[in-house]
């Protein structure tokens, strides 16, 4: 009566062009930005303007902090995207893999050019308070980043579908007429992932404290970022997954909210498959990915995937997903 266990697909060998877009290009852009900023250092006022409000610059910091921040962000973010893609499994490259690679380049170009432009407009000034507005350079940087992103997307090889042909539809668990089955499991984010998430929160907190300190407290609204991350992490660590006659119900613990319900009548097909959080969803928790749809992604391993009649998909990673998927398939079949 036990369903066939989900096997872990072999690691994917991504084409070289993916690594160029995800790692090489962002590092080159970061290095160019840092080089320009260092070259302009002697022409800059000290302190320089680091943060702009609606009526001109309102946050200041030492001139050296900008190249340090740029280098740190460039190395850190590129390493993060590289780690995501290093965990990719077959089939590859999916739309999610390509999206991550392109996002790495877009982020690098945007951050590199905005920060460099904010320095460029301050060359030759004796007082940073005279720094002009940077709305125009910011708009240009965003536009350039998006154009480069679109070009990179089309330069990369064609994507392959995310799940097929690895997963066959789950085999329905045999239920006697009148028999009721319920499958309940708890899924929680792996300790290693919790460490990674805490590290990310620590990095963001450190960058925030750094920025608030060098601007002597004027950038204090930035403190919202780490607080929002902590709140988001609180509802994305543990879930209860339930399959019953009424369908699939996934609730975040300990509050029971947010939740996702997929009713039996909505279900077109059920799969048990292997999910790799970083390469397929770009991380853990409540997730959306272009190739996969919505997901509750707790860890690498077996998962239940349901496809609704309207084509929308939902995935939840959980131990013994094979049994849960088999029971859900049985109820989906009965309702048809």
């Amino acid at each position: 009566m036990s369903a066939t266990p989900v096997s872990r697909p072999p690691r994917a060998r991504l084409p070289l062009s993916m690594w160029v877009v995800a790692v090489a290009l962002p590092l080159v852009v970061g290095a160019m930005a840092v080089a320009l900023q260092l070259a302009w250092l002697p022409q800059l006022p000290d302190p320089i303007a680091m943060h702009w409000g609606s009526s001109g610059p309102d946050g200041y910091g030492p001139a050296w902090s900008t190249p340090v921040l740029t280098a740190g962000l460039s190395l850190g973010l590129t390493a993060l995207f590289a780690a995501f893609l290093a965990t990719a499994r077959q089939p590859a490259p999916t739309a999610s893999h390509k999206f991550l690679a392109v996002l790495s380049t877009v982020t690098a170009v945007f951050i590199g050019s905005v920060v460099t432009a904010s320095i460029a407009v301050q060359r030759g000034l004796s007082d940073a308070r005279d720094a002009p507005a940077i709305d125009a350079p910011m708009g240009i940087a965003l536009g350039a980043a998006l154009v480069i992103g679109v070009l990179a997307w089309f330069a990369l090889p064609k994507t392959v579908p995310a799940s097929a042909p690895v997963a066959a539809p789950a085999e329905a668990l045999p239920l006697a007429p009148g028999e009721r089955g319920v499958w309940i499991a708890t899924t929680r984010v792996a300790t290693r992932a919790v460490v990674a998430i805490l590290t990310a929160i620590a990095v963001v907190s450190a960058a925030t404290v750094f920025t608030i300190t060098v601007t002597e407290g004027e950038a204090w609204p930035l403190a919202v970022a780490p607080l929002a991350l902590v709140a988001a992490a609180g509802i994305a660590v543990s879930w209860r997954v339930r399959v019953g006659p009424d369908g699939l119900l996934v609730r975040s613990l300990p509050f029971g909210w947010p939740r996702v319900r997929v009713r039996t009548a909505e279900i077109a097909s059920v799969h048990a498959l292997h999910i790799e959080p970083l390469s397929e969803f770009g991380g853990w928790g409540w997730r959306w990915a272009p190739a996969r749809g919505f997901g509750v992604v707790a860890r690498s391993g077996p998962a239940i995937e349901v496809q609704r009649h309207d084509g929308r998909r939902f995935v939840v990673t959980v131990d013994d997903a094979e049994t849960g998927a088999a029971l859900l398939a049985a109820y989906a079949q009965v309702s048809r």
Partner: protein, 117 residues
């Protein structure tokens, strides 16, 4: 974990819930330290009264299969691991009985007689 009940079978629902858990324990699907779903949640999902589920859990506690603790729920004990050893012995016994042409009812009677009622 999977719990199956059949309201039409005539057997009490709480017995069926307990049997479902025992079966998973014997097959090794459940391990010591695993937790049974909260009674309220299971009752809601099975569409039965919460007291029915609690009665099943108390039955399992009386057998020493689970520990019931306030705030921690129903936690499976080390007795679960012993079940897996018995399962292997039962499989061998059933195979022997088949070979000897002993029907299931006779075998069950023999087993029941071995226990001092």
């Amino acid at each position: 974990m999977l719990i199956r009940i059949d309201p039409g079978s005539g057997e009490a629902i709480y017995d069926q819930i307990a049997t479902s858990v025992r079966g998973d324990a014997a097959r090794g699907t459940l391990r010591p330290g695993d937790r049974l779903p909260p009674a309220r949640e299971l009752a809601d999902a099975l569409d039965v009264n919460v007291h029915t589920v609690l009665r099943a859990y108390q039955l399992l506690r009386d057998e020493g299969l689970v520990d019931l603790r306030r705030g921690r729920g129903a936690v499976l004990t080390d007795a679960v691991a012993r079940g897996t050893e018995i399962l292997a012995a039962v499989r061998a016994l059933v195979a022997d009985a088949r070979r000897a042409g002993v029907p299931a009812q006779t075998l069950l009677t023999l087993i029941r007689e071995e226990y001092p009622a």
